[in-house]
C-alpha cells in the first residue's frame, strides 16, 4: 500500500492535531502492520517526547506524593 502521503503526519496524529479523517486513515493503516509506518510512529513518539520536555520541570507539592502513595496502598 502506498503510504507516502502519511509520511508527514505521524507527529500531528500523536499530538491529536490531525483531522478526524486523517487520524482514522492512519490508524487503519497502522492496523495493517506496515513496517515503514511502524518505525515512523515510534520515531514520531520520540519527537513528541522531546518536545514535551521543553517545559521547565516543576516540583509537585509534598502532599501530592503522600496522597498518591496512600491511594495506591488502599487499592
Amino acid at each position: 500500500m502506498d503510504c507516502r502521503h502519511l509520511e508527514d503526519v505521524y507527529e500531528l496524529f500523536l499530538l491529536g492535531a490531525l483531522s478526524d479523517e486523517g487520524s482514522l486513515e492512519l490508524r487503519e493503516h497502522l492496523n495493517q502492520s506496515c513496517e515503514h509506518c511502524l518505525v515512523r510512529v515510534k520515531e514520531a513518539a520520540r519527537t513528541v517526547y522531546l518536545l514535551s520536555l521543553s517545559a521547565r520541570p516543576v516540583s509537585p507539592g509534598p502532599k501530592a506524593k503522600a496522597d498518591l502513595l496512600r491511594l495506591v496502598k488502599n487499592k
Partner: protein
C-alpha cells in the same frame, strides 16, 4: 521550545535514569510500592512541568499527575511487556491526560481564546467583526471537533502502546543528547514554533490553529509539516540514525 534551562544536570544522567526506569518498571509490575515511589521521584518534576504548562493551575496539574501514576500502577504489567520506553509512556500519557482535562474545561465554558496558549481571538474577532452568537456557534463546533479528534489519538495511545512506544535505548540516546537537540530546535522559524506550541501545549487541531492565528488552513498545514520535517532531519543528524531507522 526546548531551552537550556530544562536540560537537567548531566547529559548522561538522563540516559541512566531511563535505564533505571526499566528496572523499576519490572518491580512495579510485581506491585512494589517503593518502586513507584522511586519512579515518582525521578519523573514527577518533568511531568509536573509539562502538566503545569498545559493546565496552568497547580491543583489541576497535581491531580493530573496523580492520574498518570495511578494509571502506571494499574497498567505496569502490560507496559513492561511492550519492552518500550517507560519515560516516553509517562510523558505522552501525561500530555494526553492533561489535554483531555483542558478540553473538558473548555467545554464547560472557558473560550479557547482566553487560554494561555495562543493569541486567542482571530483577527476578525479582535476587530469586532463577529457577533457573540456566531462566536458561540464556533465554540461549539470547536469543542465537538476537539473531543472527536482527541478520542482517535487517545484510543490509539491507550490501546496500542506496543505500536508507538519507542525503545528504551532510543529514548536514552535522546536524553543523552538533549542539549544538542534543543539547540537545533531553537533554530526553527518562530511562526512554525508558535503553531507547533499551540498543538503541543494547547491541544489544538490544525484547523483550530488556523482559526486561532487567522491564517488559511493550507498555510498552517504546510507550516506544521515543514516544522516536523525540520525536527526529524535534525534528530537524525544529532542521533546518527539516518539509516538505522529506515
Amino acid at each position: 521550545m526546548p531551552t537550556e534551562a530544562n536540560t537537567g544536570s548531566s547529559k548522561s544522567s538522563g540516559a541512566s535514569q531511563e535505564l533505571r526506569a526499566e528496572e523499576l518498571l519490572g518491580r512495579l509490575a510485581d506491585r512494589d510500592v517503593e518502586a513507584l515511589e522511586s519512579l515518582y521521584e525521578d519523573f514527577a518534576p518533568k511531568l509536573m512541568g509539562l502538566l503545569m504548562r498545559i493546565l496552568s493551575a497547580r491543583p489541576d496539574a497535581e491531580s493530573a499527575l496523580q492520574e498518570v501514576f495511578v494509571r502506571l500502577w494499574k497498567e505496569a504489567p502490560g507496559i513492561a511487556q511492550t519492552k518500550g520506553s517507560l519515560a516516553a509512556w509517562l510523558v505522552l500519557t501525561a500530555r494526553h491526560i492533561a489535554l483531555k482535562r483542558l478540553r473538558a474545561q473548555r467545554t464547560v465554558g472557558a473560550r479557547p481564546t482566553q487560554s494561555r496558549h495562543g493569541q486567542g481571538r482571530t483577527k476578525e474577532e479582535k476587530a469586532g467583526g463577529k457577533s457573540a452568537v456566531s462566536a458561540r456557534k464556533e465554540d461549539k463546533l470547536r469543542e465537538r471537533r476537539s473531543t472527536k479528534g482527541d478520542s482517535e489519538t487517545l484510543l490509539f495511545l491507550a490501546a496500542s502502546p506496543q505500536v508507538w512506544m519507542p525503545r528504551a535505548e532510543d529514548i536514552a540516546l535522546v536524553d543523552a543528547r538533549m542539549g544538542l537537540l534543543q539547540r537545533a530546535f531553537n533554530q526553527m522559524p518562530k511562526p512554525q514554533r508558535h503553531a507547533l506550541e499551540l498543538a503541543l501545549f494547547g491541544g489544538y487541531t490544525e484547523s483550530e490553529i488556523a482559526e486561532q492565528l487567522g491564517e488559511p488552513l493550507g498555510r498552517v498545514n504546510a507550516g506544521l509539516r515543514a516544522a516536523f520535517t525540520f525536527l526529524r532531519h535534525r534528530q537524525h543528524a544529532v542521533l546518527g540514525t539516518w539509516t538505522a531507522d529506515i
